[in-house]
């Protein structure tokens, strides 16, 4: 039995930052992907009726993607060095997570509503969030390194996945945020992450 088994759908979604975290840590894990059609039958049998879950050798099952992400970051040393750095990492991740309800709304919106929600997201909410992040990021070595402290943390991985996803919808989304653009490239070029991206399903 592997030490770690991650179970999620066959999409990036909320599991991709975790998969990337394992790659950064150089830690093997079983990457189980459920088909959407299997989920209704599987759901009532799952302990927390939600995905992703991380099954850890010894019988522990963790749910909640951020709890899992933070756990492996702490286990493998990329959570931030002090409690303060960890809090700063959490702060960035939580701020991005505040935007997911609107993203979900966009995903499910009817054709008539899609344009309106898209406008709100890309003309108002994302610029506001990125403006705050660019400003806060600049306080750390003038935004030439990583979000928190001296090295890559899970906050950078979360940001990468979020921004990369936004760029798929709107390639210019980071046009006015050069430091965040630089961060994205920096994460993309991390050797372990670069290798992971090259080989991922």
């Amino acid at each position: 039995m592997p030490k770690y088994k991650l179970i999620y759908f066959d999409i990036k979604g909320r599991a991709e930052p975790i998969r990337m975290g394992f790659a950064l840590a150089g830690q093997e894990f079983e990457d189980v992907r459920i088909k959407k059609e299997q989920w209704p039958e599987l759901k009532p049998k799952m302990p927390h009726q939600a995905l992703p879950v991380l099954e850890i050798e010894g019988g522990v099952v963790l749910s909640q993607s951020f709890a899992i992400g933070r756990y492996i970051a702490n286990e493998f040393g990329f959570a931030g060095k002090t409690n303060l750095e960890k809090a700063q990492a959490d702060m960035f991740c939580d701020a991005l997570n505040d935007l997911t309800p609107k993203l979900t709304e966009l995903f499910h919106a009817s054709d008539e509503k899609k344009a309106e929600v898209r406008k709100e997201l890309f003309e108002k909410l994302l610029p506001a969030a990125f403006t705050n992040m660019e400003r806060l990021f600049s306080k750390n070595k003038d935004g030439t390194g990583f979000l928190v402290g001296d090295g890559i943390t899970w906050a950078d991985i979360m940001f990468y996945n979020f921004a990369d996803g936004m760029e798929q919808i709107e390639p210019d989304v980071l046009k006015n945020f050069p430091k965040l653009q630089g961060l994205l490239e920096r994460v993309r070029n991390n050797p372990k992450i670069k290798e992971y991206i090259k080989n991922r399903k």
Binding site: H48, A67, Y71, N74, N83, A87, Q88, D94, A95
Partner: protein, 235 residues
């Protein structure tokens, strides 16, 4: 700007701090800023109370907020924020987790901390659902949000939480490990308004272990003291 601490509460906090080890004079200074509500700041206030650590409990009145926000001192233009030794941290759960880690109320190992986080995030899902109900701008949306809470969000999440609780000492202690953690305190803060908003529906009745846990947390002396002393607000 109201400090939000009544003279009685102030005296109680000073008394309990006097009993602490006074050689910890190098303690950082903490300032928590929020509205004059329990809301998203209460988990942190409960953590300070249980840890017996002094802090400035700043409460901004609604009318003052636009000016405050415009000052640019809030990282994401929102409250609560925690100022500690010149640093400003935003995002209520990031703040709570920071304090919990500082005060030893976060769980003892990375695995315990992960379980605490998992529980806190699950509670957050219910809080979000109740928030949709509370802030819905028309009766139809309100009813829809309430229906979703009662038939889906609460049963699923609370069933899971009751199960998780029971894996720890049969559910007769705390959520994680052998003592109170931030998971228990956030559960308390959540159920304060959950129970109030859904009084008639009595949603907690289906979860005996969670109900008993709530009472157990309220009975902790430091929690009881704070709950009695704190400013009384609707939410």
């Amino acid at each position: 700007m109201s400090q939000g601490i009544s003279p009685l509460a102030d005296a109680l906090v000073s008394c309990s701090n006097a009993r602490r080890d006074t050689s910890r004079s190098a303690m950082p200074t903490y300032k928590l800023t929020y509205f004059d509500l329990r809301g998203r700041a209460e988990p942190s206030r409960l953590l300070f109370a249980v840890a017996g650590v002094e802090y400035e409990d700043v409460r901004i009145q609604r009318e003052q907020w636009p000016n405050e926000k415009a000052s640019g001192k809030y990282p994401f233009g929102q409250m609560p924020v925690l100022e500690v030794d010149g640093q400003v941290i935003a995002q209520s759960i990031a703040i709570a987790r920071y304090l919990a880690n500082e005060f030893g109320l976060a769980g003892k190992t990375n695995l315990e901390k992960a379980k605490v986080d998992m529980i806190v995030d699950a509670i957050g899902d219910v809080s979000k659902g109740l928030g949709e109900m509370w802030f819905a701008n028309d009766e139809a949306k309100k009813a829809e949000a309430k229906e979703k809470c009662l038939t889906k969000t609460i049963p699923t999440t609370f069933t899971g939480l009751e199960k998780i609780l029971m894996t720890n000492n049969g559910g007769d202690g705390f959520f994680v490990g052998d003592s109170l953690t931030m998971a228990d305190l956030i559960f308390l803060a959540h159920t304060d308004y959950h129970v109030d908003q859904l009084k008639e529906e009595n949603t907690m009745a289906a979860f005996p272990k969670l109900t008993a846990l709530r009472e157990r947390i309220l009975a902790q002396p430091s929690v009881k003291q704070w709950v009695e002393a704190r400013p009384k607000t609707k939410i």
